[in-house]
Symmetry: C2
Subunit: 351 residues, 2 copies
Amino acid sequence: METKIELIGCGTVGQGFLEILNNKKEFLFKKYGFIPKIIAVSDINKGNLIDKNGINISTLLNVLEKDGKLSDLNKESEKYNNLSAVDIIKKTDADITVEVSYTDIKSGEPATSYIRTALMMGKHVVTSNKGPIALYYKELKELADSENVHLKFEGTVMSGTPIFNLIENTLLGDTIKSIKGILNGTTNFILTKMETDGLTYDEALGLAQKLGYAEADPTADVEAYDALAKILILSNVVFGGNLKLKDVYREGITKITREDVLKSLKEGYRYKLIGQTRIEDGKIFAEVKPVKLSVKEPLSNVSNATNALIFKTDLLGEIMIQGPGAGKIETGFSILVDVLDVLKRRNKILQ
Amino acid sequence: METKIELIGCGTVGQGFLEILNNKKEFLFKKYGFIPKIIAVSDINKGNLIDKNGINISTLLNVLEKDGKLSDLNKESEKYNNLSAVDIIKKTDADITVEVSYTDIKSGEPATSYIRTALMMGKHVVTSNKGPIALYYKELKELADSENVHLKFEGTVMSGTPIFNLIENTLLGDTIKSIKGILNGTTNFILTKMETDGLTYDEALGLAQKLGYAEADPTADVEAYDALAKILILSNVVFGGNLKLKDVYREGITKITREDVLKSLKEGYRYKLIGQTRIEDGKIFAEVKPVKLSVKEPLSNVSNATNALIFKTDLLGEIMIQGPGAGKIETGFSILVDVLDVLKRRNKILQ
């Protein structure tokens, strides 16, 4: 069955999603009867493109890879270039809005406005954008419920590694009491390299930057703002909280030296940047900080850029899921799985 | 909404399931609108009980804990005591048959006959019984499909830790290329104790028996028949194979000595009983055997009775799930989650 999709933002994640649609076209049709029809794309740098008949994904990818303008694909679309993404969302009749524009963890904008508009238009929304979910989950979820549409965001925590879909679909009847884990690949890579290669903090950070794990300005990672946003999302989504950024204690890894790392390893402990949240008598306690874990603990053996979360539940005890925390295809997959989950819930794909 | 359930077998798993229904009654109703109505119970040792109006779960648990007969609960049911479980399944109009009778990995009986009968009666089936799924999955799945009902078996691999529900519900669009992991808690416990406490194989096995991890006759665990059944299930379910027991290479842990374990640890390796299966060009390769893994590998850090599986997929790369592999409540939960998943797919519970 054809599904009309509009894509807001086409940076790394958007392109990862399109690549998967392109490469797995036949498989997705055969297995699920899924026929994606991209009817609009809007990007703050690349302009807008609308085509009711569906945009050719392969051609679209070619233009994006060459850093071209979207209107190169269809000259008629030049007339849309003065429209904002909000205007585009209002204009189309897409079934699903895929919101993968840039993340601003402090304001949540402009992505929150895009999502709000799409939900008000009665469109399902799939996003991997941490800002809107960390800051406005409660409001957006209520809006989605009132419009009888789905709001999905698997990619906001651990990219496509199943977290929210795991909780929603595989732990039915179980109750989660606490969640803790390694939620930032860059800092875990730095801590690993300080231990295994004896690098100083600055050398390890430099290597992470060289390999593309860390940004030129690494603050969001090393000062734990990124992990904080994820713990905030888990707290509010899983425990139904309404915590704000300031409610979560945050401490980064910048004060940890190579000497600290090597000394603690001799004593049988590894430094890890651990995010944790738990609910007790209806109250949520959440924090992100470096913790010395025994080398025998499962989380202390999660190395390099890998992420992992441990859920403590009342029926299953502890279960741990470990997997990628970032990546073009991995996060692109989070968009695909959420789109398919929405369609499954609406009986729009084969099951 | 009321769901009519019949319970075939009421040993550890059946009682675990009933305990959860009893303890989480209010939660299950509030969250999912789920009202379980146990209308029949059949156990080869304890007799039969049928009550169209629903059996009081708390009273039923009392009788089972005291090792009483089911007809103690309802004298009228004595007349059913000459009926077989197959007769009971034919007689009731249950929506879901929960099959948790004893496991025979060589014949799959009598459980396979119970499941076949229930499916032919148009009932959904939920089971944690490895025998029928390891030996007759293809036939049973085709029967379920032709009757338009669900056949669920989360508990057959890693008890309630999500494996099949993880694959079915959280990896939509992804393709699994290989699966490997630690699928037997008893042998992992023995190997761990040989390393951490310096026990001999016999001492570690004795401890496992004392703690209830191993049976008096430990053959199924230590000779890897249990892990073999699970790898067979994974091969046939996930890769659509039709492998038989003889198609899977099997080697147990009985030849591994304390000296082997300690020597290999000094060299940076740990012995683990690893089950693995992979598909290449449509051909499936499956085996279970002890493997020396680098202490840096995630699976080598899975200790004691814990189980873990690594899935290699085309979009996500490697993800690992770790959790309990056995237990009364843990396996009881596998039944609950499957029952709720069936009801969700039929829009019979709140989502």
